[in-house]
């Protein structure tokens, strides 16, 4: 067998070589066609390349899905393709570093969350809030204080009274995360003892452990606990938004209960400083069109979020700066600021 193989080699090789010469020619021509225009347009005209939306979230999370839902209509509005790039790692540090090293021609857009802000505050090196320019806000998903249906914490008053006796167990995602900062802030505003924060991998795990009775309280987005709310396994004590949520009309806001605390999972788009002003304006217009388009509106509605989550550049910029200041204080309180 081995020898037979040897014998037939030359013919095979000749054929392959001939075929190969042709393919090299074709290939060279192909590469030439593809390459040349890009070389000529070294400083890429806006919209000539796909726009990369860089997110720190892995595929499948709420942040990733936000990016993909925006992309559907925004791509049409901007007249170019939108590619979602997942740069996980370092709680947003990898995504920030990646965005910082890309050319500042408006083809790289960051999907920013509070996580990035906290990461920037904690690192002190690399990209800071001042290096970013807001584009548009995509979601503002208020957090809901949820307890198990048969929990002794039947009302905000009972939460306050029991919470003063013993430290309650709150489910959070990661230490020093947005949830954690919110939990500490909420406990402070509600005047209860500093809670025991039990970290989990994600909102789903928190819901499971809330129903399973392993934790007392969870600060969750509506969508994360929707199935359990509808099944009557979990009760909302209050919502941490300014006004009542349309998806949970009976749940009072914390402010109505004289707990001055507001918290939401907020996501929005930003670019690095240095992108030309006209491109920022184009991006804002295009992203807003995408965010107000049917796909994203439907996504907001079905996941129980308000349509006014979507906001323009000015509002989002102001909010980012406010977050940054609050976050600095909260991290100092936690003792994790550097």
């Amino acid at each position: 067998m081995q020898e037979g193989n040897q014998v037939c080699r030359p013919a095979e090789a000749r054929g392959a070589a001939a075929w190969h010469r042709r393919s090299v020619l074709l290939g060279a021509a192909g590469f030439g066609l593809l390459g040349a225009p890009s070389i000529l347009r070294a400083q890429a005209a806006f919209g000539s390349r796909p726009i990369e939306v860089v997110t720190h979230a892995g595929v499948g999370g709420g942040t990733d899905i936000t990016a993909r839902m925006t992309a559907v209509d925004a791509a049409a509005a901007l007249g170019t393709e939108i590619v979602v790039v997942n740069k996980t790692g370092g709680s947003g540090a990898a995504a920030l570093a990646y965005a910082a090293q890309r050319p500042k021609d408006g083809h790289t857009v960051l999907l920013l969350t509070q996580t990035h802000l906290l990461t920037m505050l904690r690192s002190r090196t690399g990209t800071q809030m001042e290096d970013l320019v807001a584009i548009a806000r995509a979601t503002e998903d208020p957090q809901v204080v949820m307890v198990r249906a048969d929990s002794p914490l039947r009302s905000a008053d009972e939460l306050a009274s029991i919470g003063k006796e013993r430290s309650l167990r709150f489910g959070i995602t990661h230490v020093g995360s947005v949830d954690h900062v919110a939990t500490v802030g909420f406990a402070k505003a509600a005047g209860i003892r500093p809670p025991t924060a039990v970290p989990f991998r994600g909102g789903g795990d928190i819901v499971v452990n809330l129903v399973g009775g392993n934790i007392d309280v969870g600060l969750l987005n509506f969508a994360e606990g929707e199935a359990q709310l509808r099944a009557g396994e979990v009760r909302p004590l209050m919502v941490l938004s300014r006004e009542r949520m349309t998806s949970l009309p009976e749940a009072p806001t914390a402010r109505e209960l004289r707990i001055d605390f507001v918290s939401a999972t907020t996501r929005g788009y930003a670019v690095m400083k240095g992108v030309p002003e006209d491109r920022i304006a184009r991006l804002e217009e295009g992203m807003l069109k995408g965010l107000r388009g049917p796909t994203f509106s439907n996504y907001l509605k079905t996941s129980g979020q308000a349509l006014d989550s979507v906001a323009g550049r000015a509002e989002w910029q102001a909010q980012l700066e406010a977050f940054s200041n609050e976050g600095r204080q909260a991290l100092a309180d936690l003792g994790v600021a550097r």
């Binding site: 190969h20 590619v83 003792g335």
Partner: protein, 156 residues
């Protein structure tokens, strides 16, 4: 070297494992401390230290239980060293000319090394593999591959 040469294969492995465990144990002291306000339950360093201790213990067991006189390891083949060098060389080449061109070069170099002498076959298979990767990963799945210095210079 002279001491190591007298040891059997498994004893040398045991020493290496003990070294790694010791190093990892020492590194736990370089972890950031947990802020007092957050310190509840187990800290960050306890579990890795426990694991390192177990690893150290197992290394001792391996050392004691392995025969003192053992057949020496067969030497690493020259071709493996060259292949390894080609793999490691792949990285700087990639940094210079980009991932896709480096992917064309690698199978040609290593294929030659492994005894495939026909340049046409080497070129064709390398080009084919890279083409498939380009089609699937770049065209369809929209990966951004590192362009290297060359790619950055050409495409900005």
């Amino acid at each position: 070297m002279s001491v190591a040469a007298h040891l059997g294969r498994d004893r040398r492995v045991a020493l290496a494992v003990a070294g790694i465990a010791g190093l990892a144990f020492a590194l736990t002291f370089t972890f950031d401390s947990v802020p007092a306000a957050l310190m509840e339950g187990l800290g960050a360093a306890e579990f890795p230290r426990l694991i390192c201790a177990i690893l150290l213990l197992l290394a001792v067991v391996l050392f004691v239980s392995s025969p003192a006189e053992e057949a020496a390891l067969p030497p690493v083949h020259r071709c493996t060293w060259w292949t390894l060098a080609a793999c490691l060389g792949f990285f700087p080449v990639l940094g210079l000319i980009g991932m896709l061109p480096a992917m064309v070069l690698f199978p040609i170099v290593v294929g030659r090394l492994w005894g495939e002498r026909r340049p046409a076959v080497l070129l064709l298979s390398a080009a084919l593999v890279t083409l498939v990767i380009w089609l699937l990963f770049v065209r369809i799945f929209r990966f951004t591959l590192p362009g290297g210095l060359l790619g950055d210079a050409l495409f900005g």
